[in-house]
Symmetry: C2
Subunit: 544 residues, 2 copies
């Protein structure tokens, strides 16, 4: 999978020859906690590391007034492609606005004075590329056809090659880069139910995702605590179920903006509407949707999961997911299916009766499967593929062959077994267990995230190919607009490299050196990415 396209784009350009570390070089004696690597990588600040990088010492300068990014004459795309024009503007700013995050010593060719690089030509070679299409991953290969996405990624790589020399001049070294992602699905899950996230925060994190070559925003949009999704069909869901019906909702226009902002950055938006559990907030605006729990022989006034024994439930789901299928253009929707608590179902006499009628005995996972099966059939009619959390697979629900099973539970050994089971059954899968970034601990926990590998389980090559990637999850119990961004970055960057770069890119020390500079680059681009360890950025964050 050597992708000629990016070589075409970047063939004239280069990378850091040598560079000063951001860490002071004092002795570590006297402080047992001074244990970080401290130096520079021969790959400069490239993050995630491309598949092949050849670096030369020949440097070029970029003139602030003269440098241009333009469509190559031969390119099949032109000024009418707003996706590209938008990207040119964005990256011009990043490259020349205040780009180079660190100074470095001039390359060996400095003595003769560097030449000037006057333009970056973007050459789209595929005549049938659709500039207005949405990014997609429908199979192992077809992502290669989404050329525009990869040109966006190439621009990011180019921007990471630019640095400031000793005199503050923006420079780039000649080099050859071939690149492609190891996994097609590289996602971030954000949870807008436990805390509402203002649109501004979502957009800033989509922007940062692009800097890290993530390509899927898994929008866990509703859950027990609140229902901020404003449904045109069922407006009462957010009217009653959001934290506030006006200030804490996502209107159709908001959702559209998020999707378009993501598209311009090569990012898919996959919404999750998790049922039958995690639905407390749904019940407020949709009477009879949830199961009434009983205390003895009388209703307790509380409610459990979606009520699976009423026809009205499925009528509702049909209408709701039909709307979802039109609002969200991506080919997939995430249907949840995790953590269904049976205690309420068990308390309800109507449910018990239904269980008897269906011959489910005391096995409530059969009832769960009954519900899910009907839901999957409904969603199938909307022409969407679906992703589900692993419990649905574990419970033996019948799934379409293209179902993506999302692994999130257990110890390392448990999730590796799960991946082996899923893939031996022929399903595609996606890993999140080691990447629950909401779970924080003291110290450099990014190293643990970096070491986890989604193909690290016992299985055939064919099985390994069914692993389409992974997602870093930031569940919302303890994060909102005040702390989400620094908690996510650069910790999620570790996951980004694992999902993009070659399997054998695993030198923690080299990663540390590149990541510290990459994080300063994010800071300089206005993103409050937190530090890995003591040290500094030439340009510190300007906010508080």
């Amino acid at each position: 999978m050597d992708s000629g396209w990016m070589r075409t784009v970047l063939v004239l350009l280069g990378v850091f020859g040598s560079c000063r570390g951001l860490q002071p070089d004092y002795t570590e004696q006297g402080d047992p906690e001074l244990q970080s690597a401290s130096g520079s990588s021969k790959y400069g600040s490239l993050w995630p590391l491309p598949q092949k990088v050849q670096i030369s010492d020949v440097s070029f300068r970029l003139s602030v007034s003269g440098f241009r990014i333009r469509d190559a004459k031969e390119s099949s795309a032109g000024p009418s492609c707003s996706l590209l024009q938008n990207a040119y503007r964005r990256y011009y700013e990043y490259i020349l606005g205040g780009a180079g995050v660190k100074k470095q010593k001039p390359g060996k060719n400095w003595r003769s004075g560097p030449s000037e690089l006057t333009e970056l030509q973007v050459w789209i070679t595929s005549p049938d590329s659709d500039c207005d299409a949405f990014p997609s991953v429908t199979s192992d290969e077809s992502w290669m056809t989404s050329l525009f996405t990869f040109y966006l990624l190439g621009l990011e790589t180019f921007s990471q090659l630019v640095y400031e020399d000793e005199y503050g001049a923006k420079s780039i070294n000649s080099s050859v880069i071939s690149d492609f992602p190891r996994f097609a699905h590289r996602g971030i899950l954000l949870d807008t139910s436990r805390h509402f996230l203002p649109i501004k925060v979502i957009l800033a994190n989509l922007e940062t995702m692009a800097m890290n070559k993530f390509n899927v925003f898994h929008w866990h949009i509703v859950d027990d605590p609140s229902f901020p999704y404003l449904s045109r069909t069922f407006p009462q869901l957010s009217q009653q179920g959001a934290y506030h019906p006006y200030t804490h909702v996502y209107t159709p226009a908001d959702v559209k903006m998020v999707i378009e902002f993501a598209r311009l950055r090569g990012i898919r938006v996959i919404p999750e509407f998790d049922t039958p559990g995690h639905t407390q907030s749904w019940g407020k605006g949709q009477p009879d949707l949830l199961t009434p729990c009983y205390s003895g022989s009388t209703p307790s006034g509380t409610f459990g999961p979606v009520n699976p024994i009423l026809n009205t439930t499925y009528d509702f789901m049909k209408q709701f997911f039909t709307e979802v299928s039109t609002v969200f253009p991506d080919g997939y929707v995430h249907l949840g299916g995790d953590e269904v608590d049976f205690s309420c179902w068990k308390s309800n006499p109507d449910i018990k009766k239904f269980m008897d009628q269906q011959g489910f005995g005391q096995d409530y996972s059969k009832l769960e499967s009954f519900y899910i099966q009907k839901l999957l059939d409904i969603v199938t009619t909307t022409k969407k593929g679906y992703m589900i959390w692993q419990e649905v697979f574990d419970n033996g629900v019948k799934l379409k062959p293209d179902t993506i099973i999302h692994v999130w539970k257990g110890t390392q050994q448990q999730y590796q077994n799960e991946m082996a089971n899923i893939t031996s059954s022929g399903y595609q899968t996606l890993l999140s267990t080691p990447w629950y970034l909401n779970r924080i601990s003291y110290g450099q926990d990014w190293q643990g995230h970096y070491k986890a590998d989604p193909q690290d389980f016992k299985g055939t090559e064919a099985q390994k190919k069914l692993v389409i990637g992974g997602e870093a999850c930031l569940w919302g119990e303890y994060v909102d607009a005040t702390n989400l961004t620094p908690r996510l970055w650069p910790r999620a960057s570790a996951v980004a490299e694992r999902l993009w770069s070659s399997k054998d890119v695993k030198d923690i020390s080299d990663a540390y050196n590149r990541l510290t500079v990459h994080r300063c680059r994010m800071v300089q681009r206005g993103i409050p990415a937190e530090p890995l360890f003591y040290g500094f950025c030439p340009h510190e964050y300007k906010g508080i």
Copy 2:
């Protein structure tokens, strides 16, 4: 210690009668992590809780255009006191700018329509109060004389009583409050060496300290990694030892600004210049200050702690601390003295010789004490009191009777024993061990911080009185401008209440209810204080 002054200020005013919680009241079933308390406190959002609070249902409205804060006729202070005038402006903004962080149902007296509260009179009763003085704590009682500080605190309390009623009108309920702090020393330690903190960040956190009635900023200004303090006497220290000599230093004007900003908020600034360990950055700009380490019989090129056997060391310290004593007006300076690593001293033949001459044998803690003793004598000549980390006491160094010993090590049992030992020796002490807020963990760790009590050790009443308070420490390994503020708040608020409120204020559930609203108030005042658990603020943070 019933302080009539604050009763005078607030006698007409009141507090929340009842209020809606910010948490939705759905059932907790189906999500094992939904375990937070959820409701409202009869004390509204007061934080830290005053010593005595009597609340009535009689509410008054505050008119945006009509409400005034002014000096009472009888007050001994007037418009010439810029500290007060400054505070009036600040609190007018907080109270009426966008104050009330939550709506509540009207009080019982609503039916007759609330009266209007037109002014808050500030009545300074002490004729000899000095508006331009710095806040200080020199003994157990004398803080009572610093009346201005307490008027500032009274304004904060007043502002916390104001809320928005159902119609958005700013309101306050009549009540009587008597208040005073349980401990005189309520500090926050910030570390500007491991990461440089822009002045803006320091000021924002001083502002937030005032909202939480903290009164000491312990400025751990230099350490191993960098020396950002720009010394007039030894400019090479920051020239060589800062991360960057211009962008990552605190100039004399910066320091002055921090001190004045703090003073206007009743906050003392105590600088820490930690020696003889933690001084790697000092060595860069001050040759011969640090001990050369040896590898066998030759210098290894690395350096250890301050070299205690040279006269030049003490000449330097004399000049340096004389400067410090003039730059920082507070009566105390923190001299560090923690974590001295002996390995370098042990390797150095000149040190060995000196040890022999002094008859210290192999006991390097005697050498450490030798150094510290001379340092303390030097600092005593600058007319400053000093604080030191507990090792200095543990090593048996002779201390002035007014020395404050700062406890930071060990398990709960160990620090309790340490507090008992220190106070039985008659010294004043200060606790930090349970409040290392840099150490993060998943979940509501503020509850642990809240439960710790600095007087919780075996000792007499006289011993307990020697505990002057505590400090929450946020060491800088993993925090800088990008993440410091949300990591500190509201976790430090838990410590604030422990140090201010009565010992028997320890209802976690009531604290949770008040603290969630207090944190939303901080957010509304522009501070990105992170959430305690899922839920929302009426006005979410506007940044990213």
